[in-house]
Structures are given as C-alpha cells and as structure tokens.
C-alpha cells in the first residue's frame, strides 16, 4: 500500500522537470516556473508520506539497501533544494535537480527501495546512513550550483546577448553558495563517517571506507585551497562537479556492488 505513494511523487517530480524545461524557453519566469515549483512541493510531500509509511510498516531501518538509500537520498536532495531553490533567482537550478530526482526515484522504485523491507538495523546504522546521505545530497546540490556557475560564466565570457533576458543567479552568489553548501555537506559527511567508524569498526579497513575517506579528502582539500590560495570561480566549480561525478560512480560500486 505504501508503495503506491511513489507514483504521485514521481508524477509531480516529472511534471516539475518538464515545467522547468518549459520555463527555460520562457525566460525563467511565468506560469511554467510556478508549475515547476508546485510540482516540487507536491512531489516532496508525497515522497515524505511514502517514507513515513515505509518507516511505520517496516520492522527496522527501511533504507539500508542501495535502492532504499537512493529513495532517501532523493528526498534529501529535493528537500535541500526546497529550502531556497524555489526562490525566483534559483528556479533554473530545478532544471538540474528535478530530472535527476525523477530518474533516481525511478531507479529506487525499480530496485525495490520504495517498498517495505523486513531487514532489521540499529539506530546507529540509521544515523550513519542518514548523515551520509544528507551529506551526499548537499554535495549534489553544491554540484548543481557549480554547474549553474559554469553555465553563467560561459554566457558572460562569450558575451551572450541574451544574458540579461534569461537571468541566472549572479556569478559571485553562485560561487559563494556552492562553497557554503559544500562546506556544510562536508561537516555532515564527517559526522556520518565518525558515527560509522565508531559504531561499525570491525578492525579492517575495507574499500568502501577507503573510497569514502578519499572523497572526504578531495572536498576538504578543495575547501582548504579555496580559503588559503583563492581557489574559486571556474576551477572550484569544476572541482565540485568532478567530485560529484566521482561520488556518483565510485560510491555505489563500492558500497552496494556486493
């Protein structure tokens, strides 16, 4: 029964993705953008209901599988986007976030992550997975902002005549916001890693742990370089996008391949 809730969420996310694409043609404003925002809101509420239903129906932590984790991850990404992504200036960030959210939710559904699981798990695992997924969701969002930065920078560099008609957020704001999001995400990720190390240390240093730490080092180095040497703008944006690409490829392989 709970699984039925995935459909309104999927439909709403899909509608939002299409509406944002329509808004791009209409100068980033107007009814298409408003439809997109409502799609995000309704979809997120439907997915929240789905997660609550999963939690109530399952015996333990219902998002321990890769598909379940993906389901929770999508909810966190869209939730983070909802905080300020729906403001008029950042509407077009939805162009990057919502198609991804819809696609990942489909994958989660196909993998059985939207159903009810009978796996049992302790609250520490739940906390670890929750923190890790929240951190990764934040990094996804910072990469989305970095993508938007690269697009805006390209338009300004190429002296695109339409730069004032389809207005993206200011370059400087995108740069600062992506860095702040990455910083907060890294803090959350750190907390997740610490919980994992403290709770599940079985004495061996395995591949998933190594990969997770490598990702942590990559982002931490980027943020330190930004602070100390002025690594910002295009180079920092590229680092965030490449970082997320590595996370998206390597992390699922190492954590869920078995």
């Amino acid at each position: 029964m709970a699984e039925l809730l995935v459909w309104p969420a999927l439909i709403a996310y899909g509608e939002a993705a299409l509406a944002y694409a329509g808004a791009l043609g209409g100068g980033g404003s107007g009814s298409s953008a408003r439809l997109g925002i409502w799609g995000v809101r309704i979809g997120w509420l439907a997915q929240t209901a789905l997660l609550i239903a999963q939690m109530l129906d399952s015996d333990g932590f219902p998002w321990g599988t890769w598909a379940g984790a993906l389901n929770l991850f999508v909810w966190l990404v869209v939730g983070a986007y909802l905080i300020w992504g729906c403001t008029p200036r950042y509407r077009l960030l939805g162009l990057a976030v919502m198609p991804l959210a819809a696609a990942l939710l489909v994958a989660a559904w196909a993998g059985g992550g939207t159903g009810v699981t009978t796996e049992t798990a302790g609250w520490l695992l739940a906390l670890h997975v929750g923190l890790m997924l929240a951190g990764l969701a934040g990094l996804t969002l910072s990469a989305g902002l970095a993508g938007l930065y690269l697009w805006q920078e390209r338009r300004l560099k190429q002296r695109d005549t339409g730069v004032l008609r389809l207005r993206l957020p200011p370059l400087d704001s995108l740069d600062r916001l992506s860095a702040r999001t990455a910083f907060v995400s890294l803090c959350v990720l750190t907390a997740g890693i610490v919980v994992g190390l403290v709770s599940f240390n079985r004495g061996d240093f395995d591949v998933p742990m190594a990969v997770t730490l490598a990702i942590w080092v990559l982002y931490a180095t980027g943020l330190i370089l930004r602070r100390e040497t002025g690594l910002r703008g295009r180079r920092f944006a590229v680092l965030l996008v490449v970082g997320l690409a590595l996370v998206a490829i390597v992390l699922p392989l190492t954590h869920f391949a078995s």
């Binding site: 300004l156 560099k157 004032l164 008609r165 993206l168 400087d172 040497t229």
Partner: protein
C-alpha cells in the same frame, strides 16, 4: 459622464513643439485647476508628452475637447499653428485605453520604461479630480503596475549604461560594497558610473590622462582622481572597470594587468570598455575570472533586451485591454446607478410605510421581536431587488443599460416620484 483627452506626444510632434507645451508640476496643477471649471481635469506633462484629461458629468458636454485644445494652443503661443495638426483627440473608451497604455509604458519611446508610472501618479495627485478621473487614474496606475509585475517588460536595460550596470549585477549580485574604477572622464563614463552608484557600488577612483579633468568628474561621483599610471594598482581592488578614453591604443593591456589580477586571488573583475578605439585588450577575456565587454557587445545586449521588451509588450497589451474593459464596464454601470438607487429607495419607502401602518399591532410586540420583523422585511426587499440590480448592471456593461434603466423607472413609477 464624458471623458476627453487632447494631447501631443513624441509620436507626432518633434521636441521643438513638445517643449512649447511642456509644464512643470506647479504649472500642471495650475492648468488643471483652471480647466476644472465645472468638470474634472488632469494634466500629464513629461518630456515625451503633454496630455490634458477632462471629464464632465454632463453626458452631452461636447465642449471638453475644445477647452483642452484651446488650453494647449494657448500654451504653444506663436507655435500654435504648427501644433494644431499634431494634436490628438480621444474620447471615452479610447481615451481610457490610451492612458492605460501610457501608464504601462506601452506608448513610451522605450517600451516599458519605468519613469512614466510615477509621472502618471504625480499628475493624478496634483490634478483636479472627481469621481471619473479618480477612478480612471487609479485603474491606470493599477494597469501599469500589473504590466510591470506580470510581464518582464521593464526588467531588461534599455541603454548602454544601464546594460553595463545590469551586467555588473549578473557578476556580483548586489553591488553594495563593490568598487568601480572609472578610466576616462567622458560623458558615457559618467553615465555608467552614476548608474552603478545608483545600484550601490562606490566609485574608487577616476583615472584620467589629465588629472584635473578627472577631478571634476570625481567630485561629481563622490570619488578621487588618479593618474593612468595608478591603474595597475587600482585593478587589484576594483571589481568593475569602466573605460572611455580617446587613447589610440590599449590603456589596459594583458601584460600590465595580469600581475595585478593575480593578486585578486580569483575574485572576478568586469571590464566595460566604452571607447572606440578600445581601451581594454580583448585578450584579458581569456584570463580566469575576467569578463570584458566592449561597446558593440553592450549595444548587442541592449538590442536583445529591447527585442525582449517588445515581446513582453504584447502580453502587457492584453493586461491593459482587460483593465480598459473593466473601466468601460464601470463607466457604463454609471448609467443605471440612478435608476438602481431610485428603485432601492422606492422599495425601502414601501417597506417602512407598511411597517408604519402596522404599528398599532407591532407596538404590542416585545423589542426583540420588533427588531426581527425589521430584519426579515429588510432581507425580503434586498432579496427581491438583488437580481434586478445585478441584471441592470450586466445590461449596462453591454449597450442596453439605458433601456433597462428606463424600463425599471417606467414599471415602478420612479419617474412620477422624481417629478
């Protein structure tokens, strides 16, 4: 009620004629007061137009046009002969639609320009208004606001200085706390610097070959003058550089700027090169965080913005048409208002008369029950008259309002009562 508009604008009249009939706020108020003898009057005078709006509650008052025309010709004085052929005269619905278009910026030289809405408001506030012009101007202001809020007609810049400032906002967002370096003390530099200042930026320095000339501009934009030799050092702190010198070669070349830009630690910098020949080496654009716009780039951005405004103008026209229709319906409803008022008064008179007749019997009732009878009879009258009232207003919005009003007067004997 009758509404008349007589005016002259940039569409038909050159500036030599427009300036003859232009009046300041005090003059507009005085003129409106003079014209409002037995009617309502508003004078809208901007650099692009002078328009007189007159309204009278006498539907047969055909002298409004003549009075307004005579006032404008008198203002023109000896140029009245040349002015007469370019005057336009509009009445009622056409005059209202025209004002709504003016308020929305659709009749402006640059579609959607922002100043006109404030000018219409000012004209309204100093005018001699009554019921018709009050409603007309309020609705025009509402239409103008809607056009700007619901479309993007006023969002894009329409001039090179405004485009330069808007580009700076696309790079830095809020310009508060951002420094601008002005190189060259020309008119375009000044306009751009003023535009940037109006959006919160501060002018760090005005660098000029002749420092004395730079000092004049620096004083006007609350800054300091500097020599061209100081430019490399200033590049380290300025976020926007506006150049418009008449130098034959590059004033800012890549080699000289690279070292200065390195010290910015990745902070972006925008070069706005308004000079021909160019002052800024286009090679600077290849440096990370450096954005270079020359005059051609800026003009292309303005042209694209204006094209966008023209597209948005089509949507704004629809909004204006809706508002004009609402005004027409309101104006038409005025023709049935006296009949509706008479009908309600007649019904109320009957109600109170019948209650008075029954006073002998009602007098024995307790106070609470007497109030109940009052309330019930009032509700019965209101319910009976509700539908005829709505139907009459609907008919007034069409062309049958007067007929309906006459029929109601005849059926209920309202004419006899009035006489």
């Amino acid at each position: 009620m009758r509404l008349a508009l007589v005016g002259v604008s940039h569409r038909q009249a050159p500036v030599e004629l427009r300036e003859r009939v232009a009046v300041d706020a005090a003059g507009a108020a005085e003129l409106a007061e003079g014209l409002a003898d037995g009617c309502e009057a508003v004078v809208l005078s901007t650099c692009n137009r002078t328009e007189l709006y007159l309204a009278s509650d006498q539907s047969a008052d055909h002298h409004l046009d003549g009075r307004a025309s005579a006032a404008l010709l008198e203002l023109a004085g000896a140029d009245g002969v040349a002015l007469a052929p370019v005057l336009y005269r509009l009445g009622d619905d056409s005059a209202a639609l025209h004002l709504f278009r003016v308020a929305a910026g659709l009749d402006s030289l640059v579609p959607g320009e922002g100043e006109i809405l404030g000018q219409v408001r000012d004209a309204f506030e100093i005018g001699s208004t009554g019921p018709l012009l009050d409603r007309l101007f309020r609705q025009a202001l509402h239409a103008g606001r809607r056009a700007r809020v619901e479309t993007a007609i006023g969002e894009s810049p329409a001039s090179v200085p405004a485009a330069a400032a808007a580009l700076a906002q696309q790079v830095f967002g809020d310009l508060e706390g951002h420094a601008v370096l002005v190189v060259g003390a020309g008119k375009m530099s000044e306009l751009t610097a003023r535009n940037l200042r109006s959006r919160g930026a501060s002018i760090a320095a005005v660098a000029n070959r002749t420092v004395a000339h730079g000092e004049e501009l620096a004083a006007r934009v609350d800054s300091r003058a500097a020599s061209l030799d100081e430019i490399p050092a200033l590049l380290a702190t300025a976020d926007v550089v506006v150049t418009s010198t008449s130098a034959p070669g590059f004033v800012i070349d890549t080699a000289a700027a690279t070292a200065a830009l390195r010290s910015r630690r990745g902070r972006p910098i925008l070069f706005v090169d308004l000079a021909v020949p160019r002052d800024v080496d286009p090679g600077l654009a290849t440096i990370d965080g450096c954005f270079v716009y020359d005059i051609d780039d800026l003009e292309a951005v303005v042209e694209a913005s204006l094209a966008g405004r023209r597209v948005e103008a089509v949507r704004a026209e629809q909004i204006v048409a809706v508002e004009a229709e609402r005004f027409r319906e309101w104006q038409a409803s005025l023709s049935v208002v006296p009949a509706i008022a008479s009908l309600h008064a007649h019904a109320e008179e009957i109600r109170t008369g019948e209650l008075a007749k029954a006073e002998g019997r009602l007098g024995r009732l307790p106070e609470s029950e007497r109030k109940l009878v009052e309330s019930v009879t009032s509700q019965i009258v209101a319910k009976i008259l509700h539908l005829p009232t709505v139907r009459m207003k609907e008919a007034a919005a069409g062309a049958d309002g007067v007929i309906y009003a006459d029929v109601v007067r005849h059926l209920f004997g309202l004419e006899e009562e009035q006489s």
